[in-house]
Symmetry: C2
Subunit: 357 residues, 2 copies
């Protein structure tokens, strides 16, 4: 991003295009450089971006602009706090350089990660192509960074049912797990993908009506600001319905004993966001384990004692301790993947449980 885009992102969560229309853009996509890199670039108008692993150039940035990286302001306006302990801030901003570089980006060839998962990395254009190949007349997207349990699956199959009832003939689910940085206690992408494969193999989700692909973004844990990015990116990829949960991209306040964001703000902010007027938001119905019916079910307040809430933190703790969740919480083959993941973590590498979410 150049500075004009960076400022619009921070202040307005949207960019004005040359034709006067607004597109949503709520998190800056920027590249930081340090003083030495800035000096090395000097007056040059073009730089190559090089893969640090292979040392090969992967993109050319031209007609560049170098501007000040005000980290405090970036953090405050993106997260609504500057408290220490925000995972993405510590990962990518705190120690980043004091300058940002932006310009026209020309990617030399499609980026490969060579981690055995590249076949799942479809570009927005490839996804749109896949949806039209499948003759989808509605695409509903589900953002996730956790293993799929049967509550998620219920929500997704129920969404398809509702779309059919609305008159759509062939609604397709975009199951779009986040593939970039996640915090230390989240399950790594490669294990989540194995788990998602099992969920599809076991028919918990129907492969005929599901497209699974990796969303390459890092997780910001920036609540109402980030949920706009999550939705906008899926619209770009062809989705027209977006499922939004309680407190999307939220987490506990890193310092105070409370949630960082109001649980309803994500949905409210998304529904009012500039550039997302045509998005159809599908509110996430709360699912919980129904002890009577021994399966995941939509929560009914009238018989609330029949329900058991199993949080992501609780699920991870069970799998780590090789305990089984109640029958019907997750397909057994998917659960096995999780148990195997935690088994593979050497005891010395046990994950911190610092930021439950």
């Amino acid at each position: 991003m150049r500075e004009a885009e960076f400022l619009q992102t921070l202040h307005f969560n949207s960019l004005r295009l040359a034709d006067g229309s607004l597109v949503n853009m709520s998190v800056p996509i920027v590249l930081a450089i340090d003083d030495a890199q800035k000096r090395a670039i000097g007056d040059r108008r073009k730089v190559a971006l090089v893969d640090p692993n292979t040392n090969k150039p992967i993109a050319i940035l031209s007609d560049m602009e170098i501007y000040h990286h005000n980290k405090e302001e970036r953090i405050a306006r993106t997260w609504g706090t500057t408290a220490p302990g925000l995972p993405y801030v510590e990962e990518a901003i705190t120690n980043a350089g004091n300058w940002l570089i932006g310009g026209d980006l020309e990617v030399i060839e499609p980026i490969k990660y060579n981690d055995g998962l590249d076949q799942y990395r479809l570009s927005p254009a490839q996804l749109r192509e896949e949806f039209s190949r499948r003759k989808a007349d509605a695409v509903f997207a589900f953002q996730l960074r956790n293993p799929v349990h049967n509550g998620h699956a219920l929500l997704m199959t129920d969404t398809r049912r509702r779309l059919l009832k609305m008159g759509y003939k062939n609604p397709i689910l975009l199951l779009h797990p986040l593939g970039g940085y996640t915090k230390a206690d989240d399950v790594p992408l490669c294990w989540r993908m194995k788990q998602h494969e099992k969920v599809l193999e076991d028919g918990v989700l129907n492969p005929e009506t599901t497209v699974i692909s990796i969303f390459p973004s890092p997780m910001h844990y920036a609540g109402p600001t980030e949920v706009q990015w999550h939705a906008k990116a899926r619209i770009n990829a062809g989705a027209n319905f977006y499922i939004v949960g309680r407190d999307p991209a939220g987490m506990s306040h890193p310092v105070e004993k409370r949630d960082l964001y109001d649980a309803d703000h994500g949905k409210k902010v998304l529904s009012m966001a500039p550039g997302l007027e045509r998005l159809n938001i599908l509110p996430f119905k709360v699912a919980a384990y129904d002890k009577k019916q021994r399966k995941m079910n939509f929560f009914e307040p009238s018989r609330k004692d029949d329900f058991l809430f199993i949080s992501g933190t609780k699920m991870r703790t069970l799998a780590r301790n090789r305990e089984n969740p109640p029958d019907g919480f997750m397909c057994p083959s998917g659960w096995e993947v999780l148990v195997k993941y935690y088994d593979n973590l050497a005891p010395g590498h046990k994950v911190r449980e610092t930021v439950p979410a």
Copy 2:
């Protein structure tokens, strides 16, 4: 403001109206209440707002909404920092209640301050009426919270000259000093108004082409976020040209040794702000004291040693110490007002000089 407006203000600096159009709104206009007040209101749908001095009701708030006042998030998203020492935050937010109350506001009768300055408090409608009474074909607004020196005056008369050159027949200046809260080392409103009166009496500004009125807003010192509010409010009052200086509404970082905002961001953000597309921004040309010509003049880098920069802080220090600024810096009768103000400050009440701006 209700919560939907509060959230749009914080996240988007603009509100979407029922017809789909956007209006700019960058600082929340909210009323905080504490837990006891919230309990006292209970389920009532209407409250009266009472003047604490006279105990008389001044407005009715109906169809109310009470929602959580997340102060940290409000501060971070408005100022781009949560550092302690932001003047307006300490004045109005830190100790405010944990709830915000919003609704339909019906003001019973025009607010009077009874401070001898009410004749200067024209509403936006009254200002628009005054401009049409004067048959203005262009209105240019100047926001200020400082005494007017001859550099300001040069800028304003030069702006009028430029507008005449552009073909306007009768450009009118809206001299619009800020009348709400300012930080301790700023000159209080009543003294500034006395000073502005002298500037008009002495003909430094032409009363025929100037409308002076008090802008009732408090000063937020919120840089690029606040400058949008300053401009939007003046458009509402009939202005179509807005003069923007370097680092508008900026100040030093309250904790770090740097300016809080990049000096160019105010102008850049204003030029891209949603809802302000039709605003004509007039960049502030830098004026300084020209030692050769013994008057305020537009700065010329080619003969920079001829110029002396006299900051607001420097000006206040001179007046406080009964020293005279160079001839031609300010009209003598206006300067006398400043000296009198500082004389009237008992030594025990000498103002802090903590946040130079």
